[in-house]
């Protein structure tokens, strides 16, 4: 029933306590938020938990959302902050979790298959420092502009451009290194 409604109407209804309207917002954005969290964290279980937390936190703080601001950018900022906090927590509490490219789905032998380019990029993304990985995910998964990425990560736009450029070079270097360890 909400399909035809615009986003602002859904947000206003959510603000009035209409949880089914908020459910529609979640349906529209859950892939984007989950993909962001998965790209940042490289772990499916953590990405699932933090996507859930991001929508709860956004709902609780909906009164603070300024309608002049793009909703997706505001929501992604919440998710990105949660991911950053999770990564800081992980740094202080290492668990030895399996990295994303080895988590289920594919035959582990295929991961080292030199022809499997997706697996190679996944592995390289896991090794890439967060400060380069995050702008790449927002740019190439969430399709955000440099200005929007700058807003989500609270980093100057010039720095974002540099990190995306440098991040791509680092990814290629990591893939090459994996192909030819010598």
């Amino acid at each position: 029933m909400y399909r035809a409604q615009d986003e602002v109407s859904l947000l206003r209804a959510s603000l009035q306590g209409d949880t089914s309207a908020w459910g529609e917002i979640i349906s529209r954005y859950k892939d984007a938020v989950f993909g962001l969290c998965l790209g940042f964290l490289r772990n499916r279980a953590d990405a699932e938990d933090l996507s859930h937390d991001a929508f709860i936190r956004a709902y609780v703080n909906l009164r603070k959302y300024n309608l002049d601001r793009k909703f997706s950018t505001w929501l992604f900022t919440i998710a990105a902050n949660l991911c950053r906090n999770k990564l800081r927590y992980r740094r202080n509490h290492p668990t030895g979790e399996m990295p994303l490219h080895l988590q289920g789905g594919k035959d582990p032998a295929k991961v080292i298959d030199k022809e499997d380019q997706h697996a190679q990029i996944q592995q390289a993304l896991t090794q890439l420092p967060y400060s380069y990985r995050a702008p790449l995910v927002l740019r190439f998964y969430n399709d955000l502009s440099y200005r929007e990425i700058s807003e989500v990560l609270s980093i100057p736009e010039g720095t974002i451009k540099t990190r995306i450029h440098r991040g791509k070079i680092m990814l290629k270097e990591l893939i090459e290194k994996e192909r030819d360890p010598a």
Binding site: G23, F34, E48, F55, N61, K64, Q117, H118, Y130, S154
Partner: protein, 194 residues
């Protein structure tokens, strides 16, 4: 490999890894809504007052009794707080110096001026990088929170309306990680030793 080809490959990789795990968020809407509905609704004070004063079919005298009783409770509590403050006037608790308990735990005050902020929180290694809200009850733009910390080294940063603010003027030192600054305080055997 050309840049365009590499960017396409990066896009398709990120899309594929999300699709491969899509079953994890299949019922995300239901789970989020369930949690929202389980939480007790918190009414703002003006909504609560409006509900209390809303016209009803019941007795107006009953409503007035409720309002009167509430006012009496506020008056009683207010008198108690003010007399307590007067008694402790010689040694106010609000201090930048940590207050130490017998077990070594100290009440550490986090202070940040943020004039136009709507929300200020502190995240750090002491709260698993989960937000602890600061408050500005008198509206002067000075946000504070007092957090009990045992002796040790703590990394932290403020979030001003969600924005990272990693350089607390009261920190003992700064560190840079994830491309941003965080503040560090030493409690007990470090910079806050008194």
């Amino acid at each position: 490999m050309t840049t365009d080809r590499f960017e396409d490959l990066l896009r398709s990789t990120l899309k594929a890894e999300t699709e491969a795990a899509a079953d994890r968020i299949a019922d995300l809407e239901d789970r989020v809504i369930l949690e929202i509905e389980e939480r007790s609704p918190k009414l703002l004070w003006h909504e609560w007052l409006r509900q209390l004063l809303a016209p009803t079919t019941g007795s107006r005298i009953g409503q007035l009794l409720v309002v009167g009783a509430t006012a009496a409770v506020f008056l009683f509590v207010g008198m108690g707080i003010s007399s307590n403050l007067l008694r402790n006037n010689a040694s106010p608790r609000l201090s930048l110096q940590p207050v130490r308990a017998a077990d070594g735990t100290q009440e550490v005050l986090f202070v940040l001026p943020a004039m136009d902020a709507e929300n200020v929180a502190v995240v750090g290694s002491f709260n698993s990088w989960e937000e602890t809200q600061l408050s500005d009850q008198d509206g002067d733009g000075i946000w504070t929170a007092s957090i009990p910390l045992s002796p040790g080294r703590y990394e932290y940063a403020f979030l001003i309306d969600g924005r990272w603010w990693g350089q607390d003027p009261l920190a003992d030192e700064y560190v840079q990680s994830f491309g941003e600054f965080s503040s560090v305080r030493y409690i007990g055997r470090g910079g806050d030793e008194v």
